[in-house]
């Protein structure tokens, strides 16, 4: 039974991927890409990697899909490159060669694969966390996670840098051309409170079961965007100090905890013994907040309207 289900999943993933790269209108290809992300999420669940599945669905399919949708919806979007049949065949052959090479290498890898999982499990009690993924992200490899939050902030700065000089401190463009009926507002009033609860739960549960800051933050970002699209929240003014403080809370809260590690523990990013879990949850809360705000602003794009609109 599960074999049939897996085969169906693989078939669906292949079909969605083909649809996403096939010729045609941009919008339907992006839709196929988002469907592909959802199916991939199910594949990760089948591989028992629930944390990866949640991230794939929330960030890989959801947020990325939104950014792509906004790109294809632009009036001045360039026409898709008209590639000839020969070019497409060549690209297909190259892709097949890469696939064959990768498959060969994967089959050559040692079995069973060497892994650090037992090592993580051995040290998990020292972190006071129940979810080994969170332990790796926030404790054992905290530097990587800290810098990933900076990368996200930097991506937003890069997007903002594309704005015209006079609107640097202004508002991003309108998310939807015009609310055509009250349906969106009704939907937002219904969905946003539930979604915020789901996002907060994902962050809170992340310490012990699958979930965490990135997944929770992505859900919260989606809810903020929905509220903005429905006109329940105003488009943010990007120069507001309070908004920018929200952006900085995660990376710099994390950095501060890292620096305090020199004082209260014995190394940078070491957590003070006894209160590890409380500090980790505080750090995760700050990161969740900043990720939510950063992702939402990334989708909204560079400021294009002056503040006094």
């Amino acid at each position: 039974m599960s074999l049939a289900f897996d085969a169906l999943l693989c078939l669906l993933a292949l079909l969605a991927a083909l649809r996403a790269v096939a010729a045609g209108e941009g919008f339907s290809r992006v839709a196929a890409f988002m469907a592909y992300g959802l199916i991939l999420g199910l594949v990760w669940v089948r591989l028992a990697a629930v944390d990866v599945a949640l991230t794939e669905v929330a960030v890989g399919s959801g947020v990325t899909g939104l950014v792509l949708l906004r790109a294809v919806a632009r009036d001045d979007a360039p026409a898709p490159l008209a590639a000839g049949l020969a070019y497409r065949l060549l690209a297909g052959v190259v892709a097949l060669l890469v696939f064959a090479g990768l498959a060969a290498v994967v089959l050559l890898l040692p079995e069973p694969a060497p892994s650090l999982a037992p090592e993580v499990a051995r040290h998990l009690p020292a972190t006071d966390l129940g979810n080994p993924i969170t332990a790796v992200l926030i404790v054992f490899r905290a530097l990587d996670t800290l810098l990933e939050t900076v990368v996200l902030l930097l991506a937003l700065i890069g997007v903002w840098a594309l704005s015209p000089d006079r609107t640097w401190a202004g508002r991003p463009a309108v998310l939807l051309p015009a609310p055509w009926s009250g349906a969106l507002e009704f939907l937002a009033r219904l969905v946003v409170p539930v979604g915020v609860l789901v996002g907060l739960y994902m962050f809170w549960a992340g310490a012990d079961v699958p979930g965490g800051a990135f997944q929770g933050g992505a859900v919260l970002a989606a809810m903020a965007l929905m509220a903005i699209a429905a006109g329940l929240l105003p488009r943010p003014v990007l120069a507001r100090r309070r908004l920018r403080a929200l952006l900085l809370a995660g990376p710099f809260g994390f950095l501060l905890v890292g620096v305090l590690g020199w004082v209260f523990a014995d190394a940078f990013l070491a957590y003070p013994p006894g209160v590890e879990k409380a500090v980790i949850i505080l750090v995760e809360a700050a990161i969740t907040l900043s990720i939510a705000v950063t992702l939402a602003l990334l989708v909204l794009g560079p400021p294009v309207a002056e503040e006094t609109e």
Partner: protein
Amino acid sequence: MSGGALPGLPPADMLLVLAVILPLFGLLPLLLLGSRLAERLTLLVLAAGLAVALGIGAEVAAAGQAATAFIGGWRPPLGVGLRADGLSAVMLVMTAVVLCATGLYAMTGPATPRAAGERMPTAFWMLLLCVWSALNLVFVAEDLFTLYVALELLTFAAVPLVCLDGKEGQIEAALRYLVFALFGSVLYLLGTVLIYALYGTLDIILAARRASVSPGLVVALAAMTAGMMAKAALFPLHLWLPPAHSGAPPAASAMLSAVVIKAPIFLLVRFWLDLAPESLAVKVGPILAGLGAAAILMCSLVALAQHRLKLLIAYSTAAQIGYLFLMFPLAAAASAWSALAWTGGALHLASHAFSKAAMFMAAGLIAEAVGHDRIKGLTGLGRALPVSVAAFGLGGLSLMGLPPAGGFVAKVMLLSAAVHLGNWWIALVILIGGLLAGGYVLRVVVPALQRPAAPLALRPVAGWREWVALALALVAVGLGFVPLEPSAYLAIGRPASWAEGAP
């Protein structure tokens, strides 16, 4: 925390972490204050960063061994280790000097036109600080995934620099750069995944201990090498570089061409000299050197044909990185001469950083004064802008490999090693490359020193910015006075291991 080797300095492990996180603290005032005050605070951060880099250099010299730090106190393979050996320390100091000079140059320059608003200066300073943090992490991280994060940080800081002016064509150049850089990142990540699957660790030192030649390792290293070649713009993957480096604002070009491009090359050195088994490195060295030789010959010829100054300098970068690839077969060979090639390669890397930053800064000032950067229109400029032309000329002197510049000593070292190791073709390429560099530098300098046909109408430029460029060029020349022998400092902490400095 292990104690510092020098009294009065923070412990070495703290300095290593500070090198990575200190520049990031500059983002706080830039995002929250966004004014002249923030710029002043940024300059303070730059000065502090320079002090940290010099501190690491001094600690490594005093201890005679690599400085190490373990994040959160977790040692590899579970945790992430940072480690600075002699080469890392040299790279840290070189980057600090170039970026501090860039900061001084950008302070009052076209990169910060107050009248145009807050966008450009604020974004520029934030990107500069992130570039610095990312580069320092590349130079000290021992963990393959931490290095991936560092490369991502570097990419997302460097790409917006290209289109900071917001001019037509720059967005396209930036996008092309982004595509090449992300392609490189994906290949790098693929290699990293394979190495973890093979050896169960992401730590370079631990993986090197377990590494043996196998198809998986060959594919992993090939993917990572191709990725770094795309990021370093090694021929034939160099097509993104000239438009990106020549289209950026001058301060950004100086940064991109002088130091950003060196990060992937530094990582290639780590892969092939620290991670790969020697038997494999010896086989791959000639391939890398062959591509380097092609880069030197092809890109130098293209540079000769350029009509615009900044494009000429950009093509020169694509050519000069070729020399760094000539180092691989020489340094990987088991011979006493390989240490000399190693020193020569590192010296070329540093002297190119200083001279190229000086040349891009000088070119920026020239374009600002003359209003264009067409090489034909620069006749007689030497009288009007003597300091900038001198900075360009002295930087060029080092590229040509004329004595007494740093480029001269570096090329002599590479040449001697090539001749003694029997790699005649490498010696020949070095000589021809020097001639071609002479051609494209003199094409600019000789007319500039002539009497102008008609008096040049120049806009004034800030004199002290010219002196920043000249100072960097003089550093490049001054590197020519390092002794002509394998450097003992560069040998500190090699071959790499975690044994030293263990708590």
